[in-house]
């Protein structure tokens, strides 16, 4: 059986599991939207005067998407821990399916879940008046970028889950996102940051994902920003996939 086919079947299984636990997904939509409303309500009126951002709803929309992405992708690690605790992960390891598929199936399911969630948050943002300068095609790319980021990011929770088999540790995959988010231009452009924060934001891959998505909402097609976003995601993905595969090896040591 090819890795691709096995990954597909495992992805479908993971998506079915999500569909049967809608409460988990709802919180990943509700929390980012709550922060979107509150942040726009608190800062939206002064963002133009304070740091030159007139469309603060559009400025914040990618932040809500990435928050939801981190929450959703973090659940991938949680699902794997549950499989490990129930012994079902061993059952999957006992099949002749390539072991890479056990990882890719879960990651692909996370990417699909992130894209569904992103579409919902984006539609709410559009109803709020965030706009989408890059049009319908831009909206599709916006969601795809979120999905790719989810794919790369969920590797953090998955690798922790495989290495530790612990629910608490796997949830740390979500917590990693907070420093990454706050050390990025999430609430104001990088140009108004203190020097030390600007340096950290420049090193932070989330910065480029945010700026790439933001460009689609606020400016239209800016290929350089999209390219930086995709390179950042590819770099993050390479690191997290390597971590995940190394963790998978430890389960048969």
């Amino acid at each position: 059986m090819s890795t691709l086919v096995a990954s597909y079947h495992l992805m479908i299984r993971a998506l079915r599991e999500s569909r049967r636990q809608p409460g988990v997904e709802i919180q990943n939509i509700f929390i980012p939207l709550f922060f979107l409303f509150v942040t726009v309500g608190a800062i939206g009126q002064v963002s133009g005067a304070a740091f030159g951002v007139e469309n603060y709803k559009g400025f914040q929309l990618p932040v809500a998407i990435l928050q939801g992405t981190a929450g959703t992708a973090g659940m991938g690690g949680f699902g794997t821990v549950m499989d490990i605790e129930r012994g079902y992960f061993d059952k999957l390891m006992l099949t002749p399916a390539p072991r890479l598929a056990l990882v890719l199936g879960r990651l692909a399911a996370d990417a699909v879940r992130v894209m569904v969630l992103s579409t919902i948050i984006m539609l709410v943002g559009l109803v709020m008046g965030a706009g989408m300068e890059a049009g319908v095609a831009g909206a599709i790319v916006f969601v795809l970028v979120a999905g790719l980021f989810g794919l790369a990011y969920s590797g953090i929770g998955l690798s922790i889950a495989l290495r530790t088999g612990s629910v608490q540790a796997a949830q740390a995959g979500f917590l990693v996102f907070f420093p990454l988010l706050f050390l990025s231009p999430a609430f104001a452009p990088k140009e108004v940051f203190s020097h030390w924060l600007e340096v950290l934001a420049t090193l932070n891959p989330v910065t480029y994902v945010l700026e790439g998505q933001r460009s689609l909402v606020l400016d239209g097609w800016q290929w350089d920003k999209l390219a930086y976003a995709l390179f950042s995601i590819a770099g993050l993905g390479a690191v997290t996939l390597t971590m995940t595969l190394m963790a998978l090896r430890t389960r048969t040591a």
């Binding site: 079947h9 599991e17 636990q21 499989d83 129930r86 390891m93 002749p96």
Partner: protein
């Protein structure tokens, strides 16, 4: 060619735990083999090495003629495994779980529905097939787990304590499936158990494992015959070193080949036990050692276990209670 072969199979865990310590096995095709030992004796670790879930520290293992390290993927294709405590996904239905299992084993799509339907019928879960696994009772989960191990028609099946936690009815159902598959399909079984009656009823060959080592092996009848004597058990009050004192006294009874002192009893291995009992009672009375009960029996696997390890097997007898809303 043996279905399963190991040579000095060893697994050590840091810092210095010898979970499996140089096990040699040769199990012929079509046999039911029972690996008998109590918790922590190395049974599960051995199964995990033979099924490619764990790398041996040293030694060699072959399953169906294939090295478990060098040809792990091929080994996995030829074996079915039901691990200790049904390892299932609670959020799938029984049918979905079996279909996924069939797909991952590469069963042709055109055959999957028929095969899964047939298996569900065999394990008597066809009525519950479309319910989520989380609504199943312990016995139903075990049967589903067994069906999952069979979905690709494996030649060799590993069952790790398949009936632990089941009530007598659930246990009997699993035993019947194992016997039928072995008898009708020629499937080789490697099962681990801490239940003497399970090994006695099912197994053609038994290996008794204690602290990671095989201490006795053979057919149940051969093992019992190896004792070569009757077994007289004398229960004594479990205080004042009664058992130790009794063992010392009874070691001098004519014909006693071995005497084992336990907490509140003494086991005497003796030829022609029925005629030896008066002498045993007399000796204990002379030594003023109180007795509560004297029993005579033919040797059981427990006696073999006791003789080889110095202690009785302590099986986990707890039964998983079905939750109220669940039904079989």
């Amino acid at each position: 060619m043996p279905a399963i072969l190991t040579e000095q199979l060893t697994k050590h865990f840091p810092p210095d735990i010898k979970a499996v310590d140089g096990i040699d096995l040769s199990i012929a095709e079509g046999k039911i083999f029972a690996f008998l030992g109590q918790n922590g004796s190395g049974k599960t670790t051995t199964v995990r090495m033979l099924t490619t879930l764990l790398r041996p520290t040293s030694g060699r293992a072959q399953v169906d003629g294939l090295d478990v390290l060098a040809r792990a993927a091929e080994v996995r294709r030829r074996i079915g495994v039901a691990l200790q405590e049904a390892a299932l996904d609670d959020m799938q239905t029984g049918r979905e779980l079996l279909v996924l299992q069939a797909r991952l084993y590469g069963v042709p799509t055109s055959e999957i529905n028929e095969r899964v339907g047939g298996l569900l019928k065999i394990v008597e879960l066809d009525d519950a097939a479309d319910r989520l696994v989380k609504t199943y009772s312990g016995g139903m989960k075990r049967r589903l787990d067994l069906a999952a191990a069979l979905v690709h028609n494996p030649k060799i099946i590993f069952l790790d304590e398949p009936t632990t936690g089941l009530d007598p009815i659930g246990r009997d159902a699993i035993w019947r499936y194992v016997e039928a598959l072995n008898r009708d399909g020629g499937v080789t079984f490697f099962l681990t158990t801490q239940y003497l009656e399970e090994a006695d009823r099912l197994a053609h060959e038994v290996a008794i494992v204690d602290r990671g080592r095989i201490v006795a092996a053979g057919s149940p009848d051969d093992l019992k015959a190896s004792i070569g004597t009757d077994v007289v058990t004398v229960r004594v009050p479990g205080d004042d070193d009664n058992a130790a004192r009794a063992a010392e006294v009874l070691g001098r009874v004519d014909g006693a080949s071995d005497v084992r002192a336990l907490e509140d009893s003494v086991v005497v291995y003796i030829k022609d036990g029925s005629t030896a009992i008066p002498a045993i009672v007399l000796r204990l009375s002379e030594a003023s050692i109180p007795m509560r009960e004297v029993t005579l029996s033919r040797p059981t696997l427990d006696d073999v276990f006791l003789r080889m390890t110095g202690h009785h097997i302590e099986a986990d007898r707890s039964v998983t209670r079905p939750e109220p809303q669940r039904s079989e």
